[in-house]
């Protein structure tokens, strides 16, 4: 497999309105196979969250990660994604999430670790243009002097690579530690102040509205690699809804590791 470059592709942008957390999980699975099969061009998808959620990694245990009482109290649900990595605490206005779907040739010959930094180089560029000095912290974090900004996860299947990232635009650290067990362990480990500082969100670092940060990211990708506005095909959305019914919305999947 010989390696291709960003400019070898006609990149498509999907930037739709809010969708449920489970539908986002399903769309990632649908779109990686669509791109792998050549039915969809390589795509950047900006997510809008339809509700709050805890998103756990493919290999995480629900009971190890989530406090059921905190979850109930804050009326949040748990969804499981298809990629590995850690739990994310999602509140719609506080989070910037995106996915990239590309043929595996784009990362041919790269280790997983190398491909993480490669797939997010454009984001570091966008952040730099907003005055945020950020860098890649292996394996899968985007970080800054103030603290962690984002976490990425990848999977390769069906001839394509999915790379998705959740960035902290803002964070309610007090609420997070009521819902995520891992957050609480870190709190007891390091004390409240340092735990709340561990993530340094983009809101405080840029002083810009969330939309403006996303706009700059889209502009940056466009200027570096080219990006064309696209829309989800009805059959893609249909397939995703079917996968919510059969997989992502089911207890069997979410609790596949109890």
């Amino acid at each position: 497999m010989s390696r291709t470059g960003w400019k070898d592709y006609d990149w498509q942008l999907l930037r739709d309105g809010p969708m449920s957390p489970a539908l986002h999980m399903a769309l990632d699975e649908v779109l990686i196979y669509e791109v792998g099969a050549g039915r969809r061009r390589p795509t950047v998808r900006i997510w809008e969250w339809g509700g709050p959620a805890v998103v756990i990694g493919r290999y995480q245990s629900v009971k190890n990660e989530v406090d059921p009482e905190g979850l109930e109290r804050h009326r949040m649900s748990v969804v499981r994604r298809i990629t590995g990595g850690g739990a994310m605490f999602i509140e719609p206005g506080n989070t910037i999430t995106y996915s990239l779907y590309a043929p595996q040739e784009l990362v041919a010959g790269m280790s997983f670790q190398e491909s993480y930094a490669f797939m997010d180089a454009w984001v570091l560029e966008a952040l730099k243009s907003l005055g945020v000095k950020a860098w890649y912290q292996p394996i899968n974090d985007i970080t800054s002097e103030g603290g962690k900004i984002a976490g990425a996860a990848q999977t390769r299947r069906g001839g394509a690579v999915l790379h998705h990232v959740t960035m902290a635009y803002d964070i309610d650290a007090a609420k997070m530690v009521q819902v995520l067990r891992i957050g609480r362990e870190k709190l007891s480990d390091k004390g409240q102040t340092s735990a709340q500082k561990r993530v340094d969100p983009l809101r405080s670092q840029t002083g810009l509205p969330r939309e403006a940060v996303i706009d700059r990211m889209v502009e940056t990708f466009d200027s570096l690699h080219g990006l064309r506005q696209d829309a989800l095909k009805p059959q893609e959305l249909e397939a995703a809804h079917a996968l919510v019914e059969s997989k992502f919305g089911t207890r069997e999947w979410v609790h596949i590791i109890p």
Partner: protein, 91 residues
């Protein structure tokens, strides 16, 4: 029984298991690691099933390694990290 091990510079590996007549049973490995393909997790769990409780770290890691085909990619953890988490669960 429950054991956790944070791979240095990598990810957390969690092992939950029971003992039956001195052998590992109902073993579940979990964590925030990356693993491809996803079916490899069942292969890892299966490799640990039935091991004697006295198995050493090296023996445990060897069993896990032997159960994984060349196509399997572990990122942020290793057979050795799984073995440490198992030993911690048994300790």
């Amino acid at each position: 029984m429950h054991g956790e091990y944070k791979t240095p510079g990598g990810k957390l590996v969690v092992v939950d298991l029971e003992l039956e007549d001195g052998h590992l049973a109902r073993v579940q490995v979990s964590g925030d690691f990356f693993l491809e393909p996803e079916e490899a997790l069942e292969a890892i769990n299966g490799a640990l099933e039935g091991l004697p409780r006295e198995a050493t770290e090296a023996e445990i890691a060897g069993r896990v390694q032997a159960a994984l085909g060349p196509e399997v990619v572990m990122l942020g953890f290793s057979p050795e990290a799984v073995a440490v988490a198992v030993r911690k669960a048994l300790a």
